[in-house]
């Protein structure tokens, strides 16, 4: 998950990577107490790139202009997201702009150092100019100098740029990060370097041993739930999906789309080898997952597809039956379709048939049945209603 720019820059500062004086702005009136001297740049703190092109960055010369600009930025959604904070930063006039990054590369199974003299906003169109150095063995400074040379740097820039790359690498390792990116790294006419924008991607799996990063991330509204919490991914359709394992969940969503159905949301319960949630607690997770999925009123049918070596079909069926027993007593639930394979399939089917829940062994059949439930009556409006929608049968 990505940190906000100001959070990334705090980490840069701690590491000795040069950043400009700046201040967080939570409300336009905060600008009256601005300690950064004008001219300043106000930047929307959102998680997407290309905010500059969308008006999320403004240069201002005085307090009045700054307040007006801040009001505009607070009300400007960037790809649908409004900023909670702006960053007010001293304006800087670069002579040139470089691109630097340190990332983990799946192909070489190593960290890679990336750099280009052509940094800035249009980096995507200049991908072929980005130089790469794979950190094959234990890191040493020469890897960073090798990158600087491949970037075509000469003279004192070789050492100054490679020293920043080295600090980025040390930051990546010390904080278990997936990515540290500086774009642009400003180069002044005198050769001074400054990280004007920063991107840091933390590794979710490592947050358990990075307590201060975990605190930072917890303040982010879109943060994933703690290691074993269940998370609901909202989509735009009418079918809720509860599934076990990432690959099977993706395959199930693909099959729904292929059958002209539309998934409203999904919950992935995880596979069989997640340490914090062994199969022993899968029954609880099934109930929690169903609860999350059916809170969404656009769900017209729920498909449960559980394939597991940890629990039997009967255990899954029992969890579903107990959820229905308790919930159906005090709220309307959409129809459930269950797909199971493995041990005790027939007892599971018997148990659920008794409470009118169809159980399939074939994945394809369970999907066509679920899709037929959502297409039999006219589809609900695409836009999700703000207030709970009362279904006719409720």
């Amino acid at each position: 998950m990505d940190l906000l720019e100001y959070q990334a820059k705090e980490l840069f500062h701690q590491m000795g990577i040069p950043v400009l004086p700046s201040q967080r702005i939570h409300h336009p009136t905060d600008l009256k107490g601005l300690r950064v001297p004008f001219p300043v740049v106000l930047k929307s703190q959102v998680y997407t790139g290309a905010r500059g092109k969308m008006g999320g960055i403004k240069f201002v010369e005085n307090t009045i202009d700054a307040i007006a600009a801040a009001q505009a930025i607070f009300h400007l959604p960037i790809l649908g997201k409004y900023p909670k904070v702006l960053l007010a930063e001293a304006k800087y006039n670069p002579d040139r702009e470089f691109y630097l990054a340190v990332a983990l590369d799946g192909s070489t199974r190593r960290p890679v150092l990336l750099g280009s003299q052509q940094g800035g906003v249009d980096i995507e169109s200049k991908l072929d100019q980005i130089q790469q150095v794979v950190v094959e063995q234990e890191f040493s400074s020469f890897y960073a100098r090798r990158l600087a040379i491949k970037m075509g740097l000469k003279g004192s820039l070789i050492c100054s740029v490679s020293s920043i790359v080295e600090k980025m690498y040390r930051l990546l390792v010390a904080r278990d990060l997936d990515l540290v990116e500086i774009n642009p790294l400003a180069v002044s006419s005198s050769g001074e370097l400054m990280a004007l924008d920063g991107k840091v991607t933390v590794n979710d799996a490592a947050l358990g041993r990075q307590s201060d990063l975990a605190t930072l991330v917890a303040s982010i509204p879109t943060a994933p739930p703690a290691a074993c919490g269940l998370s609901l991914v909202p989509l735009q359709g009418t079918i809720g999906v509860l599934c076990s394992g990432a690959g099977l969940t993706m395959a199930t969503l693909d099959l729904i789309a292929k059958s002209k159905g539309k998934a409203a949301n999904f919950v992935d319960l995880g596979g069989d080898y997640r340490h914090c949630c062994p199969p022993a607690i899968l029954q609880d997770r099934i109930r929690q997952g169903l609860d999350l999925i059916t809170q969404d009123k656009s769900v017209k049918a729920v498909l449960v597809n559980i394939v597991s070596n940890g629990v039997s079909c009967l255990q899954v069926a029992e969890a579903i039956a107990s959820f229905l027993k308790w919930e159906a007593a005090h709220r309307h639930l959409p129809p459930l379709v269950v797909r199971l394979v493995g041990e005790q399939f027939h007892s599971a089917r018997g148990l659920l048939a008794a409470i009118n829940v169809p159980v399939f062994e074939s994945l394809d059949e369970s999907i066509s049945h679920t899709v037929s439930l959502t297409t039999a009556t006219p589809a609900l409006p695409r836009e999700k209603p703000k207030t709970p929608l009362v279904l006719a049968s409720a």
Partner: protein
């Protein structure tokens, strides 16, 4: 490579919840689990298997060990693998999900230097139907036969195994290479192994979005493989940039420098098309394509 009943298998983290659950299952299948390692439990036994405090103590008592299966918690994985390598175990199956990737990088450096094969992390492991279970696969889903299955998933692999078994197509070996972005062994490595494997006549490759494992595999198949391959790709309609449980499956051009469109379903389907590899539309179509490939071969 030695994944047979005539090998010796160790389980690290045998007393952890997952270890304790899958050790009896593996034993029941006939897997030669000779010992478990759980610090503090030395001298005790689990399901009749002796437990040791250190891997080297197990090796001292029982002689060289071929394979270790690792169930320890994520932050203890690096240490467990280094311990196994130090005790000269050259096949490591790393079941645990949630290993920080920088730990994986470090353990793989050591594995490469010692020519140790690492499968995983985040994997159901390997099953050689009728012989050994080295991981979490549900044994009843599989049966011996000529199809080698390579996959990045867990439960989806079970699904594909079951589809094949029901169609009367048994498997020579089923390998979960793992769902993480940084993996010990790639599709390409396993394709090379299965090309040489006499029991394998056709290979099913179960891929998913993210990374370039499938693209590289497709190139390799076109260049170097004689045996027929059938592919399937999960995640064609997955929401972009959305975490899907498999760290490897996040499609987002997060790293601007490393390819723009590599990792998308389109890129993988195009790579398979270029390599003339038939791609199943759905898991249930895989047996049909496998039968066709066998008939042509």
């Amino acid at each position: 490579m030695n994944f047979t009943v005539n090998s010796k298998v160790l389980v690290q983290g045998a007393t952890e919840p997952l270890g304790a659950m899958y050790v009896p299952l593996m034993q029941a299948y006939g897997t030669p689990v000779v010992a478990g390692v759980s610090p503090g439990y030395g001298g005790q036994a689990l399901d009749g298997i002796p437990l040791y405090d250190l891997v080297e103590q197990a090796v001292e008592q029982l002689g060289p060990i071929d394979t270790t299966i690792i169930f320890v918690p994520p932050y203890e994985v690096l240490d467990a693998v280094l311990e196994a390598i130090a005790a000269e175990i050259h096949q490591v199956i790393l079941i645990t999900e949630g290993v920080p990737p920088l730990d994986t990088v470090q353990l793989l450096r050591e594995a490469e230097a010692t020519e140790t094969l690492v499968v995983g992390p985040n994997t159901p492991g390997i099953i050689v139907p009728g012989q050994v279970l080295l991981g979490t696969h549900p044994p009843t889903f599989y049966t011996p036969g000529p199809v080698g299955v390579l996959s990045r998933s867990g439960t989806l692999t079970y699904e594909v195994g079951l589809e094949l078994t029901r169609a009367g197509l048994g498997q020579s070996i089923v390998v979960g290479i793992g769902g993480d972005r940084i993996l010990g062994s790639s599709f390409q490595q396993w394709l090379q192994i299965l090309e040489e494997d006499d029991a394998t006549e056709v290979i099913v490759l179960v891929g998913e979005i993210g990374g370039d494992n499938e693209e590289r595999a497709a190139r390799y198949i076109a260049e170097a493989l004689d045996k027929p391959v059938v592919a399937y790709i999960a995640g064609r309609t997955a929401p972009k940039g959305q975490p899907l449980g498999h760290a490897g499956a996040i499609v987002a051009s997060r790293i601007a420098g490393v390819g723009s469109d590599i990792g998308t379903a389109e890129s993988k389907l195009a790579a398979f098309k270029r390599a003339k590899i038939p791609v199943a539309d759905r898991p249930s179509q895989i047996p049909q394509l496998v039968q066709r490939a066998l008939a042509q071969g």
